[in-house]
Symmetry: C2
Subunit: 377 residues, 2 copies
Amino acid sequence: MDESDTDTKKAARESGDTAPGQSAADDTQNGLLENASAKRRSGGVNARMRDVAKRAGVSTMTVSRALSDPDRVSAEMRERVITAVKEIGYLPNHLARSLSSTRSTTIGLIVPSVDNFIYTQTVKGLSEVIRRSGFQLMVAECGHDEDEEEEVIKTFLGHRVGGLILYNTEHTEEARAMIRASDVPVVESGNLPRRPLDMAVSYSNSEAAKAMTLYLGRLGYKKIAFACLDTRNNDRSRDRREGYLEALKQLGQTPDPRLIIDTARGMAAGAEAVAHAVEAVPEVDALFCGGGLLAAGAFFECQKRGWNMPGRIALASFDDIEMLHHLSPTVTTLRLPRYDIGVRAAQMLISRILDRADHLKGSVVDLKFEIIQREST
Amino acid sequence: MDESDTDTKKAARESGDTAPGQSAADDTQNGLLENASAKRRSGGVNARMRDVAKRAGVSTMTVSRALSDPDRVSAEMRERVITAVKEIGYLPNHLARSLSSTRSTTIGLIVPSVDNFIYTQTVKGLSEVIRRSGFQLMVAECGHDEDEEEEVIKTFLGHRVGGLILYNTEHTEEARAMIRASDVPVVESGNLPRRPLDMAVSYSNSEAAKAMTLYLGRLGYKKIAFACLDTRNNDRSRDRREGYLEALKQLGQTPDPRLIIDTARGMAAGAEAVAHAVEAVPEVDALFCGGGLLAAGAFFECQKRGWNMPGRIALASFDDIEMLHHLSPTVTTLRLPRYDIGVRAAQMLISRILDRADHLKGSVVDLKFEIIQREST
DNA sequence: TTGTAAGCGTTATCAC
DNA sequence: GTGATAACGCTTACAA
């Protein structure tokens, strides 16, 4: 590479636009190239910093500074740059910015499913904080599949996200290794992890289930059934079951396997759970549902059977979905801080990214829960 | 820039790693730089293509080809590259890839709210197709605010998304201009736009509301109230009201402004709507709710009042949420193809991006709706 | 089939 | 305070 080479390159680059009062001292052999790229960024939206610089009569560095750190530039320069940016309709290229600065403004979020309100409340909290902080959210689903999660993590790390939020606390070894190696801050949620990857924000599924079961036991219920969601590949479900069992032990009640009803998701499954429970143990006097829709379905089934709640059977739900306070009787629920979890998780993650708040490393934040006592118990 | 300069640069770059059986013919003055970058990519996750190339004893271009277009490389080379990638744990940098190729694998989605099931079903469809096609989803909320939407569009264009999905059909002039200038394909949804930006996939809110109202009218209801969600900054709500009014006209019924109940969102609002309606027009004999939660709330309120449905009042809902088929009586609803809209929108957008399917430009796809006739009417 | 060189659009760094 | 230059990590274009 010699002098002339460098010149050619420069000429090719500069000739994209002609600033007022500046002669075009080039266009020898690059006509074709120029037409192509000129067309590509016909709209100012695709213009480059170089174009702005030329128009403002400054260097690209001045444009860069004027845009990302205005104080490091004189008022006059700032003015000229801002004007040029507006005239052109220039939009800074975040890709180039990230590549060059090795800083990312993107946060990756992985949830089991994007259409389950359980997660969407948390996503809401995340989304609000993240956007307010100038970050962008990348979202992907992983089902209840660790391998799928690993794939998505790989993709997100490839996109060089600045942080990762995982609604899950169990990961493949490979996933853990990649995250460790990448040095990207991570918040886990959905449960309090035994072995946190980095940070975690959640409530405790086992504590919550235990508290509700204890509550029911103390009210005098002796045959408390538990409608249990799929525990395969789901530590949240497993922990809820654990909490239920622990409470029984503490209550001095012998756990009856027939009272643990394995159920699918959704209202229909809740209805079935009622049927199964009463069939297995006719004297069942309370049903604790491991999910909100489950409880709603159970409610309607009980109503259909003409059962009084709590007369014939008491009903309690793991999640406080809106529907449950509009039913009659209103249903006792566990209120989980889902929105707050999102807010807090985002705040912590962004602190780590922006302020290098390394003291947060390893924090596991328990945002607790609340039993909302209503008529059904 | 002269020969020696070039050499220095090269040396600095190459000395990051030492391939087996390759002497390190450098390390003169770059010790410091090297330590820094070596540390930064200690984990192979942050390694560069160059590192893989060195290890495999090939050029970066061979690595690049082996990874993105394996057939353009000999079997042996492919093998060597794959091995090196695995050994190092290399993850290609999507940022650099996109910047260099001016192709993006990111799609931006803008919805009014991420925690409303109305949108999440569509997001589910989008998400599945997008991920299967190797794209990534960026999500942001815009509320019901055009200016907010414009801001997000600006950010997304800055991130150089390959496509845009807007759950909204009304935009600021500025937003339209930016999108036009950027030449990024767009799908609008949520309504059938009068003035499509590019492509659109939806059902017609006015047609749906009209169909349901006609259905009620034909059943003989004479005083059909309409619980109307906020119409400010929301063409979907406005169109639903239009459809209702048009149906009344077609039925030969004179619209009664007192029967149009402006309501907030949520079940509580649905309950209030019932109260308002009967207060304003005691002889009201049907209530058509402009949203699913509204209908659920209205249902419970009617139940509380001991009203027979449809004996005292018929009830119909704009959206077919699960709850409504578990109530007794079951509620008549409008089933909207929300999930399919997501799938179709993603497919069209990706066709445009990948296959340059320009014939799709301008398509407005109407995925229709369905009246689910149940006991409440 | 493989490699070399230049460039994607920005920022870090170091002169001035 | 401002600018020139190299670099971020990859791909395009072209040469071998």
